[in-house]
Symmetry: C2
Subunit: 223 residues, 2 copies
Amino acid sequence: MSESVRLIEVKENVLDDNEKVASALRARLKEEKTFLVNLMASPGAGKTSTVIATCNRLKEHLKVGVLEADIDSMVDAEKVAKEGIEAVQMRTGGFCHLDATMVDEGLSAIGAEGFDLIVLENVGNLVCPAEFDTGASINAMILSVPEGDDKPLKYPLMFSVCDVVLINKVDALSFFDFDRARFEEGLRRVNPHCQVFEISCQTGEGVDAWSQWLKEKVAEHNR
Amino acid sequence: MSESVRLIEVKENVLDDNEKVASALRARLKEEKTFLVNLMASPGAGKTSTVIATCNRLKEHLKVGVLEADIDSMVDAEKVAKEGIEAVQMRTGGFCHLDATMVDEGLSAIGAEGFDLIVLENVGNLVCPAEFDTGASINAMILSVPEGDDKPLKYPLMFSVCDVVLINKVDALSFFDFDRARFEEGLRRVNPHCQVFEISCQTGEGVDAWSQWLKEKVAEHNR
């Protein structure tokens, strides 16, 4: 285990209403001028690579920290910490999503009030995390090209709760049958207004545009 | 909606013990000589393509049917039905996994006792489906190459409950950083004995070997 990564075990809140906890958390983060991004995706869509690419672009301008949720391993937080980005690993012990209480525990562990931006990497799952408000300032999700363009039809709740969708692995577009127009059509049925960026964490394509957009959101929030 | 596809809404069983329902279902399927494969994977790993490629290879020899679980859409069952394979779409209405009662409803809808082999495509999710015994004769899962070789470390329960793992999209191995030895090491930590096949539903590579293995399992079960 790397010395630079703290591991905390997080437990589901079964007593309080998650919506209330989430709203209170969001209000507190606004007051403390800390912007929290809840990043969701399937397993293997490139969440950790996106976290690293984004934080590396923003860390000159903002104090950035990362909360990594995982069912069991420390792999992701260690990868992030190797880049010199402060990270806490939240272990859910088999749990399939994060609720606002778990996120609050993670924020306490990292000392969130000292940060401009915290990126929260949720559990790899397109179903359950969409049902729970984490208290984040915005919801972001990654769809990777190999997953296919039909995903908004099949996981409508996830696509409907997002403020921004990142289409990752666009360097692999020539390799897979992913139709951008078909994706757009499916997405707009469930979410007419969210922002979309095409990125590749492999080549760096599009990461500047997305990071710039995020930086502006952070500035608006923390003003 | 295609005329050849029936849609049923399935509901979670909150009253009975799922393990008991699953055991009873497995015993009944054995008696009726119907082999049930529970196929699990992340969104976009290639479940439906694998179902089609497999059934197309086996339908000359076996009477094959498909149960497609999805949160909301009919897309998958319609794709399967277009290939002339009998399919029922089970809509979970937002639910993140299948339990044995839902599967029993699907089996009744397709008339399972007339089939040698039923392939059940579970909800796209590497977390929750692993926790629920569906009553299937075997558990199979697909990991696709773009998802990465570290998945057994991150979704250990899923990899531990499988009798067979299909590594799909091996035609994309040159494009992604997927280390077969690293995957094997992670897999064997949680599951020393499961079978592994490398396949590509795009090129057909490896599908014959996997289908032949499945055919032998069906023959043993239905003897």
